[in-house]
Every structure is written in C-alpha cells, then in structure tokens.
Amino acid sequence: MTCQKFAKCLNRRLISEKAKINILRMMYLIREFEIASRKMFKEHQARGEFLGALHNCDGQEAIAASMGAIFRKDDYVFTTFRGHGHSLAKGAEPKKMMAELLGRAAGYSKGRGGSMHMFDPSIGLMGGNGVVGGGLTLAVGAALSAQYRNTDQVCICFFGDGAAATGAFHEALNMAGLWRLPVIYICENNLWAATTPINFGCPIKDISDRAAGYNIPGKSIDGNDVYIVYETLNEAVIKARKGEGATLIECKTYRHHPHCMVMPEHRPKDEKQAWLAKDPISCFENMLLQENILCREEQQKLRKDVRDLVAEAVDYAEKCPLPDVNTLYDYVWA
C-alpha cells in the first residue's frame, strides 16, 4: 500500500551504512522490548498482579527508528500511550523503562507513571500521554519555546489516526501553521483506533490532505518502509530547523497486536495477514541483506545482542524494589 502521492524514492546512498545498521538495531530493540513486556505482563497477571494497560507498537518500528536516526538529543518528542518505540528511539534506557512498566522505584517515573507515562527531558523525551491527542497542543508549546529561545531545536509529535479526529488536532495545527513553528506532526495511521476502523473515524482517505487547511506541507507515505520514512522526515526536519515551519506526515502502518493487552483481537484475519507480510523489520532486513550491508551471521548476532539487552532489562526490573509508600506525596509540587 505504498502511497502513490510520494513517488520519489530516496537515494539509498544518502544514509550511511552505519546509520542503516543502527536503524535496524533500533527496530530489533523495539520489537524485542515489546515481546518481552508482553511476556512479563502475562507472567505477573498469572500471579494475580494486574499491571494496567499495555499498548504495544510491534509493526510500527520503521517510524520510530527513523526518527531516532535523524533527531538530535536536544530535539523534543511527544509520544502517546503507544510510546515504547518512540521512547527507545529517542534514547531512553530499556532498564529504566522496564522498571517503570513494573511500577518500580527505579523506573523513569519512580512507579508513578507506568507504561503510558515515561519522561526524560534530558534526552528530549517529553512523555507518553494517556489522553488520545493529548500531546498535539503541548507540541505547539515546545516548538514555540524553541522559536522563542531562538534555538534550532525541532519538535515531533506522534499521534494515531484516532487522534486526528480530536478538536486538539485542529487547534494545534492551525497555530503551528500560523506561527510557522518548528514542529512535525507524525500521524501513525494503523487503520484502527481501539476497535473503530479508520473509515468510522475519518471521512477522507489521506489525513495529510488536512495540511492544506493550515498552509503547511502534508504527505502520506508507506510507514513500513524505512527509506521512505527517513527521507520524508529528514526533509521536514531540515525545513523546521531552517525556520520554515511545520509539516504533517501520515505514515500508513499497522499494529501487529490488539489495541492493548486486555483487549481481544477483533480485526479481520486477512487484513492482518496482509500487513504481517509487510512487516517493516523483515522488509528492511531483506533490503540490507540485498545491499550487502549485512550478512546473515551479523544480522543474527545483532538481534541476539538486542535480545540479551532486553532480557537484562527485565531481570533488572524484576529485582528492583517497589516504591516506598511513605513517598506517596512526593512530586505533587515542584
């Protein structure tokens, strides 16, 4: 389902071989993190410990990993409840993330936030959000702050197709367009918002068409193709850094698992099968193998290293103590 609107293809030589390997590694890391988190949740649930909602992003890794390869540490990212991938790609530590998933004192939010609420301003990670579309207007503010302070920082706001229906979408993009803010809105259109199919939530085919209403560029692309995502995002980032304003990018993609851990699968089998066949990781892996940047052995080693890293993170998290209940009132005030 590569989008016809975006026909131009990246000159593959523009990304260094090292960067390509890093992108693949990040995609592995995200996938392994998600697999391990599900396993961990199930084990805890079996012991009678319910750990809240867990929204995984398997299948959407190409977008986060490309962002990670382009973005600077001081750039800002606002993510969603489905934010493990974006957080890892922005440089978050798997150990501290796993610890937060288990509500441990050593987690990113010291057990206050859980899976949906991990923050690390020191790497520009401005948090997940439990509210659909909750980041859209905050991203306006971060971009305004960069403009105000006269830096060349850029802000990315990730959101789902469901969030494109919120009132905040209009208010945020209107302001971003009006003030030529350095913000990039990336809609990860995975065709479903919880159990609602895209055609029940959105009357147009390409959400990027809405960009015209805000006088900013809009593109709809194949979100499972690393090269296309990388090129589109790179172009938007360069523009934003130069002070040329906002961009709206819609990445067509698919999540491999149900909306969250506690929800059953309700999507059509054939639709899911078709998208599994377009798994962004296998696609990119194959491309790198074809380009002779990677051989099978290296690829397997890369994946194994990442798997070990994630296993270590789980181990670490399981051993971390729970928060001290006497700290209940900490952090209410700055």
Binding site: G52, G103, S109, G114, N129, T166, T196, L328
Partner: protein, 349 residues
C-alpha cells in the same frame, strides 16, 4: 505479597452482595447486564432514545455495556463516533434540545474534560437561561474508578465537579439493582444527568427481580442498619464499608448508607441516621479536598450539629494524581482496613 484487587475483592464483594437484601430473587445479573437491560428497555419503550459514543457499536463498548445493541437497534440508534468527546457531548446536547433523547457514553470520565464546555457551559445552563423554553433530556454515562493500575489520566473520579455545577444531576449506582433502576429514571428525566459507573463494579453480580423496576433519584439506600455510627459511602466504597461493617459486627453496630444520587442528595435519610447514631463517617475514593464528603458533612453540621457525639470525618482519596504502582495506588484511596480503624477511633472519641 501483592494480591490482585480485581480478582480477590470482587469475589468477596460478589458473594456479599448475593447474601444481603431481604428477599431472595432467582435471577442473578451483573452490573453490566443491569445497565444493558435498562438501556434496552428504554430504547424499546421510546424510539427517540439513542446511543452515541466511542467503540459502542460492533465491539459493544470497551466495558461491554452496549454489547448486542447494534444488532437489536441498528446503526442509526447505536451511533459509533470518532474520538471526539467534545462533539459527542455537544451533539448529544444539541439533539436533546431538539427532541430526541441521547445516552452518550464516555469511555473514561477523565476524557469528559473535552466535553466540559458542552456539559458545564451548555447542558447545565440551557434550561435556566431559556426560562424553561429549552429542555436537555440527556444522559452522559461515564466509567470511572481506580484499582486497576491505569495511572493518573485514567483513574480520576470526578463526581464533585458535576455536583459543583448547578443544573446537572449526578447518579452513582453501587450495585446491579440500583444501576438498572437509576439508569431507567435517568433516561426518562428531562434534565442532563451524569451517570457514573465504577469499573470494578461491572463484573459484580446480584440477584434481582424478574419484572423490571426503577429506582428514584434523591432517595438514599440504607444498605445496612446500625445504631452506633453512620457510614455514608458511594459507589465501590459502599462494598468496602459493608465489608468493614461486617468485620466490626458484634463490636460496633455500623449503619451504611448509599446516597445513590448525589444530585439530588437525600440529606434527610442521612441526618435521620446521624440523629440516631451521633456519628458520621463519609467514605469515597474521589479526592477528599473539596469533595462529596465535605459537602455531606457541611449539610449534616448545619442540620443536626447538636446530635453529633464525635467530630464527623471524611475518608477519601489523597490529594495527589493517582499513581500507577499498585502499592501507591492502594495507599492513595481508603481501604476496608482504614474504615475499620477510623470507625474504632471515632467510637472511642
């Protein structure tokens, strides 16, 4: 050892709610089914009643309340929306103003914030501003609660906000019987009603009559008779209070009252009880500060101050955003043990 609140507590409360109640009915239904029966019956009775909300049609709602209603009533009456709480409530208000009777579903009360203008500036005030020319026969059902580790943006309990807004009625059923009976009345009411369901209650079961029933607004339920202290509890806390009362029985005789609707509030039943017991404890999970308990205590103080033998108390949620981690979450809201300890202390006073 951490135990699952979801499983253990529910099993406990389910068996309890099965036991209490004078009559024994043969038919056992869950809170979820009770709500669905109320909606179904009112939709059958009145073709103007319709549903609007997220994920309510094919999937039947994230909490399953509207399961099967699409097949029964079709898409025109079971209207699934985009994620647009402002427009869901706004469309509900506008359609109510023009003669149909919407039941809007907000998946988590936390997201009612997007429809606050429509609720507070519009629905609550239109009748008054138009001197009765406009009616807003609207029900906004929302699910709330905590105890499931969903953190600060999915665990708020906001009944006090709506209680603070003249023009809105507020119902908070604590069991299947009240859920069905109150919802039927809410749907028939010509005023905007905020109907708050607790997510840990959906799976609870109760024996109910075969024939249908209603429960009036503004009539509290005395869920357990007692002589020594009045415990007013709302929603899920009714079950915690009943469990505490059971543990205290033989030692302290506790009366448990569930107001069922906060607006209108049946203060008379509460003051009658306080005049008898001389002691008042209010228990709810929502934040204590400026909360439901504060209002109930104020009214009791004004109406029967001289009957009080001890300082009235409120056990409510801590003044913090709800933390994710189970150990912190449990500490942030009143538990059965807190009720027992507080009651014991108050009796000694």
């Amino acid at each position: 050892m951490l135990k699952s609140v979801l499983c253990l507590m529910l099993i406990l409360y389910m068996t309890m709610s099965g036991r209490k109640g004078a009559k024994r009915y043969m038919r056992e239904i869950t809170y979820t089914v009770a709500l669905r029966e109320a909606i179904t019956e009112e939709m059958e009775n009145d073709k103007n009643v319709f549903l609007i909300g997220e994920d309510i049609a094919d999937f039947g709602g994230v909490f399953g309340v509207t399961k099967g209603l699409l097949d029964k009533f079709g898409r025109n009456r079971v209207r699934q929306t985009p994620i647009s709480e402002g427009a869901i409530i706004g469309a509900a208000v506008g359609s109510a103003m023009t003669g149909i009777r919407p039941i809007a579903e907000i998946m988590y009360v936390d997201f009612i914030t997007f429809g606050i203008d429509q609720m507070v500036n519009q629905a609550a005030k239109l009748g008054y501003m138009s001197a009765g020319a406009v009616k807003v026969p609207l029900v906004v059902r929302a699910q709330q609660g905590c105890g499931t580790c969903e953190a600060a943006q999915h665990s708020q309990q906001l009944e006090a906000w709506f209680m603070h807004t003249p023009g809105l009625k507020v119902a908070m059923p604590s069991d299947a019987y009240d859920a069905k009976g109150l919802l039927k009345i809410a749907i028939r009411d010509d005023n905007p009603v905020v109907f708050l369901e607790h997510r840990l209650l959906y799976a609870t079961k109760q024996n109910v009559p075969d024939e249908t029933w209603t429960v009036p607004f503004g009539k509290a339920a005395i869920k357990r008779k007692g002589k020594e202290i009045t415990v007013v509890a709302t929603s899920f806390c009714v079950h915690k209070a009943l469990a505490a009362a059971e543990k205290l029985s033989g030692k302290i005789d506790v009366e448990v009252i569930d107001p069922r609707t906060l607006v209108p509030l049946d203060i008379d039943t509460i003051t009658e009880s306080v005049k008898k017991t001389g002691r008042l404890l209010v228990v709810h999970e929502s934040v204590t500060q400026c909360g439901v308990g504060a209002e109930i205590v104020r009214q009791v103080m004004e109406k029967c101050f001289r009957s009080l033998k001890s300082v009235p108390k409120v056990l409510g949620g801590a003044s913090i955003p709800m933390p994710f981690s189970r150990v912190l979450e449990e500490k942030a809201i009143p538990q059965e043990l807190d009720i027992i300890e507080t009651v014991e202390k108050m009796i000694k006073e």
